[in-house]
C-alpha cells in the first residue's frame, strides 16, 4: 500500500517542486495550447470555424488593399488629411484596448473560472490567453480595420505594404501594453481600498483630459503624441527608419508580454473585492410589486445591477461614447451613430444570452406558476431599460456639446432610440432562445457567450444599428420633423414582429425546456 513520505525520507520525485522561471514560462505557453485545443473542441459548430476565420481574413485583406485603389488615394488632398490623423488613430487604439482590458478585469478567459478551478492553470497562462482573446472583440477588430484601411488609402499601393506590417505590430503592442495596465489595475483594485484607488486614478485621468480639452490644448497634445514618431518611421516605406520603428515595436511587444505576467500573478493572489462585496453585502428588502410582471422585473433587475461585469460595462458604455461625442464636437446629426452602438453594446453585456441571468436558478424559476409570456415580458423590459439607461447617459453627454436640437433632430434622435432599442431587443431575445449557454456572470471577465459567438453577435448588431443610425442621420437633416416618425413606424413594426416571433419560441414548452436545461447545465 502506498504511504506518504516520512520527515526523514528523501523525496523520490520532483513533480511537486516549484519550477524555475523559464520552465514555468514554457509550461504556461504549452498550457495555452492545451486550453486552446480544449476550447476549440467544445465549440458547438466547429464546421463554421474555418468559414469564420476565412471571412475575417478576407475582410482584413480587402481592408488592406481596396482603399489603396480608391480615387484620391496617396494624393495631397483627403489622403494627406488621413495620414495626419494616423498618430491620433494609433493613440485612440491604445486607449480603447486599455479601457477594454481594465473594465473586463484583465481581459477574457480561455477557460471560465468555475470550469477552470480544478485545473492547474497558472496566471501566466491566463495572461497569455487573455492576450490571444483580446482581438476577438468587435470594437478591437473595427478599430484595427479602420487604421489599416486608412493607411492603405493614405499611402497608396506602392507604400502600403511596409506600413501594414508596422501597423499590425502596433496593434499587437497596444494589446500587450494594455494587458499590462489591465492586470496592474486589477491587482490594485483587489487591495484594501483598491476600489477607491482605481476610481481616483480614473477620475484623475478624466480630469486631466477635461482640463486639456477646456483649455484648448487638445490639438497641441495630439500633435505631440509619441505615436507621431512611430507613424513617421513606419509610413516611409522600406528603409532604416522603418526597420528602427519595427524593432521598437517588437521590443515593446516582448517586454509587455513578459511584464504582463507579473501583475497577473499579483492579481491572482488576491480575491476579487468587487465580486465579494456584492456577494456578501446586505440588501434591504423592498416592498413587493402589486403585479406579477412587476415582481419578476424586480428580481431580474437585481440580477442585472448586482453583477460586476454589467455594472462596469454599462458605465464604460454610457460614458465612453458620450466623451467621444464631446471631444469630437459631434453635432446631433452625426451623434445619431451613437445610440445604435451603445444599445448593441448593452445587449452584448448579457442580453444575447438573457436567460443566463438566473443561472441554475432558472430550474426553480420555471417551476413557479408564472405564465411564460409574463416571464418573457419581464426579461425584455429589464433588457430594454438596461440598454436605454446607457443610451440616455451617452445622449446626455453628447448634448453638452451638441446643444439644443432642432425639432427635426429631436424627433430623429427620439425615433432612432426607440427603433434601435426594439431592434436590439428582438435580436437579443431571439439569440437567447436559439443558442443558450450556461454562463456564470459573477466574474468581471465573464461574457454571456463564447468569444467566437460574441464576435458574430456584435458584428451583426453593429452592422444593423449603424445602418439605422446613418439613415436617421439623414432624417435629422431633413426640413420636416415628421419624416423621422413616418420612417420609424415601419421599422418599429418590423422589429416588434421579430420580437413577437422570439416570444413565440419561448412560449413553446419544448423550446423553453431546451433553453432552461442548457442554461442550468
Amino acid at each position: 500500500m502506498p504511504t506518504g513520505l516520512s520527515s526523514t525520507s528523501a523525496p523520490t520525485s520532483q513533480a511537486y517542486a516549484s519550477p524555475g522561471l523559464v520552465p514555468a514560462a514554457r509550461r504556461a505557453v504549452e498550457d495555452v495550447g492545451h486550453l486552446l485545443r480544449f476550447r476549440t473542441a467544445t465549440v458547438r459548430r466547429r464546421r463554421a470555424l474555418p468559414t469564420a476565420f476565412a471571412a475575417m481574413g478576407g475582410i482584413t485583406l480587402a481592408v488592406c488593399t481596396l482603399p489603396a485603389l480608391f480615387p484620391g488615394a496617396h494624393e495631397d488632398g483627403r489622403a494627406r488629411d488621413v495620414l495626419l490623423l494616423m498618430p491620433t488613430m494609433f493613440a485612440a487604439f491604445f486607449v480603447l484596448t486599455v479601457v477594454s482590458g481594465v473594465s473586463s478585469g484583465g481581459g477574457r478567459e480561455l477557460l471560465a473560472r468555475d470550469q477552470g478551478v480544478t485545473f492547474p492553470v497558472s496566471p501566466t497562462t491566463d495572461h497569455l490567453g487573455a492576450l490571444l482573446l483580446a482581438p476577438l472583440n468587435v470594437a478591437w477588430l473595427l478599430q484595427a480595420w479602420v487604421i489599416l484601411g486608412s493607411a492603405a488609402f493614405a499611402l497608396g499601393p506602392a507604400h502600403a505594404f511596409p506600413a501594414m506590417v508596422a501597423i499590425v505590430l502596433w496593434l499587437v503592442a497596444c494589446t500587450a501594453m494594455a494587458q499590462v495596465l489591465a492586470w496592474t489595475m486589477e491587482a490594485i483594485r483587489r487591495r484594501s481600498y483598491g476600489r477607491l484607488a482605481v476610481r481616483t486614478i480614473v477620475a484623475a485621468c478624466a480630469l486631466a483630459f477635461g482640463v486639456v480639452h477646456v483649455t484648448g490644448r487638445l490639438t497641441d497634445l495630439l500633435d505631440n503624441l509619441p505615436t507621431v514618431w512611430l507613424v513617421a518611421r513606419t509610413t516611409q516605406g522600406f528603409g532604416s527608419a522603418w526597420l528602427g520603428g519595427l524593432a521598437f515595436e517588437v521590443v515593446v511587444i516582448v517586454v509587455a508580454v513578459v511584464l504582463g505576467a507579473v501583475p497577473a500573478h499579483l492579481a491572482a493572489r488576491r480575491p476579487p473585492r468587487d465580486e465579494a462585496r456584492l456577494e456578501s453585502g446586505h440588501y434591504t428588502p423592498r416592498r413587493m410589486s402589486r403585479t406579477v410582471v412587476g415582481t419578476i422585473v424586480s428580481i431580474d433587475r437585481a440580477s442585472v445591477w448586482r453583477s460586476v461585469p454589467m455594472r462596469r460595462g454599462i458605465t464604460v458604455l454610457g460614458v465612453g461614447p458620450g466623451l467621444v461625442a464631446i471631444l469630437g464636437s459631434m453635432t446631433w446629426a452625426s451623434a445619431t451613430i451613437l445610440p445604435g452602438l451603445v444599445a448593441s453594446g448593452g445587449a452584448l453585456l448579457f442580453g444575447v444570452n438573457a436567460w443566463c441571468l438566473d443561472g441554475r436558478g432558472l430550474l426553480w424559476r420555471e417551476s413557479l406558476p408564472a405564465r411564460p409570456d409574463q416571464v418573457f415580458a419581464a426579461r425584455a423590459i429589464v433588457l430594454a431599460e438596461f440598454v436605454l439607461v446607457a443610451t440616455m447617459v451617452t445622449l446626455a453627454l453628447a448634448a453638452v456639446r451638441a446643444g439644443l436640437p432642432t425639432p427635426a433632430e429631436l424627433t430623429a434622435i427620439a425615433m432612432l432610440v426607440a427603433v434601435v432599442t426594439v431592434q436590439v431587443l428582438a435580436a437579443a431575445m431571439r439569440w437567447s432562445a436559439q443558442r443558450p449557454f450556461p454562463v456564470d456572470m459573477r466574474s468581471a471577465r465573464a461574457t454571456p457567450a463564447p468569444p467566437g459567438v460574441m464576435i458574430g453577435y456584435s458584428s451583426r448588431l453593429a452592422l444593423s444599428t449603424t445602418f439605422t443610425g446613418l439613415f436617421f442621420s439623414f432624417l435629422a437633416r431633413a426640413d420636416d420633423w415628421r419624416l423621422a416618425i413616418l420612417f420609424a413606424v415601419p421599422l418599429l413594426a418590423w422589429s416588434t414582429y421579430r420580437l413577437h416571433r422570439a416570444r413565440l419560441v419561448w412560449l413553446d414548452p419544448v423550446q423553453r425546456a431546451r433553453v432552461v436545461l442548457a442554461v442550468a447545465a
Partner: protein, 235 residues
C-alpha cells in the same frame, strides 16, 4: 384507495437521440412519501423535472392531483413545490427575494411568519438578505428545500435534498417531509442516499436505465439485507 396525487403512465422523455426516461409508471398518494432511488442517469431527476412542469413529456401521461400536465401546467405548478437537483437559486437575488417571488406568484397572504420560521429552522435567518451567489453548496440546498415547502404544497418534489447538507439541515428536511405527510401532502424524494431515503419515506421506487424496476415498502430496503436487495436491483 383514493385517486393518486401523482399518476405517471408510460412516461418517455427524449433529448435528441438520448432517451432519459423510457416508459416509467409511478403512482403516489396523499400522505405518502416515495423515494426515487437509482444510479446516476437512471432518470430520477428528469422524472422530477417533468413533475415540476419544466420538461414536457415526449410520450405518456402525467397527471398531478387529477390534472393533466400538458393542459394544466400552470395549475400544477400552483400546487407543487420543487427543489431542483442542482443550484436552483438565482445567484444575485437574496433568499427573501426568492420567497417574495414565490409568494407573489402563488398569491400567498401572511406568508412572512412562516418564511421566517422556515429560514430559522434551516439556520438561514442570518443570511436572508444576502445574495445566494456567495452561499455554500449546503446552504443552497437548504434554501431550495425552504422554497419548495413555503406554500405547503400538495405535491412536494425534493431532488437530492440531502446532498452536501449538514446534520442540522438533514434533520430540518426530515421535519419538512414529516410535516408535509402529516397534512396529507404527497412527497417524492429523489436521492442516491439509500439510508436517508428509507428514513424519510414510506415507499421506495427503484429506477434503472430510465425505467422503473421495483416499488417496495421502504422497510424492505433497510439494513444489510436491504442494501443487498438494492444492489441486486441496480445490476
Amino acid at each position: 384507495m383514493s385517486e393518486p396525487v401523482v399518476d405517471i403512465r408510460g412516461l418517455h422523455v427524449r433529448f435528441g437521440e438520448v432517451e432519459a426516461v423510457a416508459g416509467i409508471d409511478v403512482q403516489a398518494h396523499a400522505g405518502q412519501a416515495t423515494a426515487l432511488l437509482g444510479r446516476n442517469g437512471a432518470g430520477k431527476s428528469t422524472t422530477m423535472r417533468v413533475l415540476a412542469g419544466l420538461v414536457p413529456p415526449t410520450a405518456g401521461s402525467v397527471r398531478v392531483g387529477g390534472l393533466d400536465m400538458r393542459t394544466h401546467n400552470l395549475e400544477i405548478k400552483q400546487i407543487s413545490g420543487y427543489c431542483p437537483d442542482v443550484g436552483g437559486l438565482v445567484p444575485r437575488a437574496t433568499p427573501w427575494e426568492h420567497l417574495q417571488l414565490s409568494a407573489r406568484l402563488r398569491r400567498l397572504d401572511d406568508w412572512e411568519d412562516r418564511a421566517r420560521d422556515l429560514l430559522e429552522r434551516f439556520e438561514l435567518g442570518d443570511v436572508a438578505h444576502r445574495v445566494t451567489g456567495g452561499f455554500s453548496h449546503g446552504m443552497g440546498r437548504r434554501l431550495s428545500v425552504v422554497l419548495a415547502a413555503l406554500h405547503e404544497p400538495r405535491l412536494l418534489l425534493l431532488d437530492e435534498p440531502f446532498d452536501g447538507v449538514d446534520p442540522i439541515g438533514v434533520e430540518a428536511t426530515m421535519d419538512v417531509i414529516a410535516d408535509a405527510r402529516a397534512r396529507g401532502a404527497c412527497i417524492l424524494v429523489s436521492t442516491h442516499l439509500r439510508e436517508l431515503a428509507i428514513q424519510a419515506c414510506t415507499d421506495v421506487t427503484v429506477l434503472r436505465g430510465g425505467s422503473r424496476v421495483a416499488t417496495v415498502d421502504s422497510a424492505e430496503m433497510a439494513g444489510e439485507e436491504g442494501a443487498r436487495a438494492y444492489r441486486a436491483l441496480l445490476d
